[in-house]
Symmetry: C2
Subunit: 109 residues, 2 copies
DNA sequence: CCTATACATTAGTATTCACTAATATATTAG
DNA sequence: CTAATATATTAGTGAATACTAATGTATAGG
């Protein structure tokens, strides 16, 4: 069961550029291993693993072990606290949300 | 002219709980002074001023000096990088965005 | 004027944190 | 069985940072 992380955890976890880059790569790929993530990350495998642990604890990703590989994938519910936080202040950014709404109509007409 | 802060700056600025709390209070109030913000913040006026400087540099707030008071208010464009970042991944969180869309319709029918 | 008030800034400090290097654990290949 | 591969974990280190205390600057009020 994935525990819903508070907005504080999610914000803090995504604040680091390296860790956010790792997360973005996981999101873009369906499933991805640590070796692949490490490649081109600019940091060591150790650092990547530590970021993965943070992301997992924040509920942003899930992992699936298979043999000596561990496949990571994005957890859709993970960004919920961020969505909620922003929607809580939606009324103050009506214009911005309006633009986003247009985008949504294009995606899901 | 308000310089558009990169997502990195916005994320980092909002990651700190104290600073985010300050920001949230500014958003909820139309205009608010440093004294009012300091009251009940749990930190010194110095700390609040430093957070305000960060928030201002991140383009999240604007200030208006009047006499010995400085009134702070939220800058609507400030959260744009965050919106953009999230909308970039909108396709992966269609359901969440759908819920948000519903909320938008209620706000702006 | 002189004092109080509002806010910003500086210096110093303690804590957090992102990273590397080294090591541990488990799995696959030969 | 042994070596190589994949990943996690630990310890240690340097840098970033959030905070307080002290001070500076400007304005308002008596």
């Amino acid at each position: 069961m994935i525990q819903a992380a508070p907005i504080d955890t999610v914000m803090r976890t995504l604040a680091d550029p390296t860790r956010r880059a790792v997360f973005e790569r996981i999101v873009r790929s369906d499933e991805i291993t640590v070796v692949e993530l490490t490649r081109g990350s600019g940091v060591t495998q150790s650092a990547v693993s530590q970021h993965l642990r943070s992301l997992k604890q924040a509920g942003l990703i899930v992992d699936r072990a298979q043999g000596r590989n561990v496949f990571y994938s994005a957890e859709p519910k993970g960004l919920a606290p961020l969505f909620d936080w922003m929607s809580h202040y939606a009324v103050f950014w009506r214009d911005r949300f309006a633009g986003l709404e247009t985008l949504l109509k294009e995606i899901d007409p």
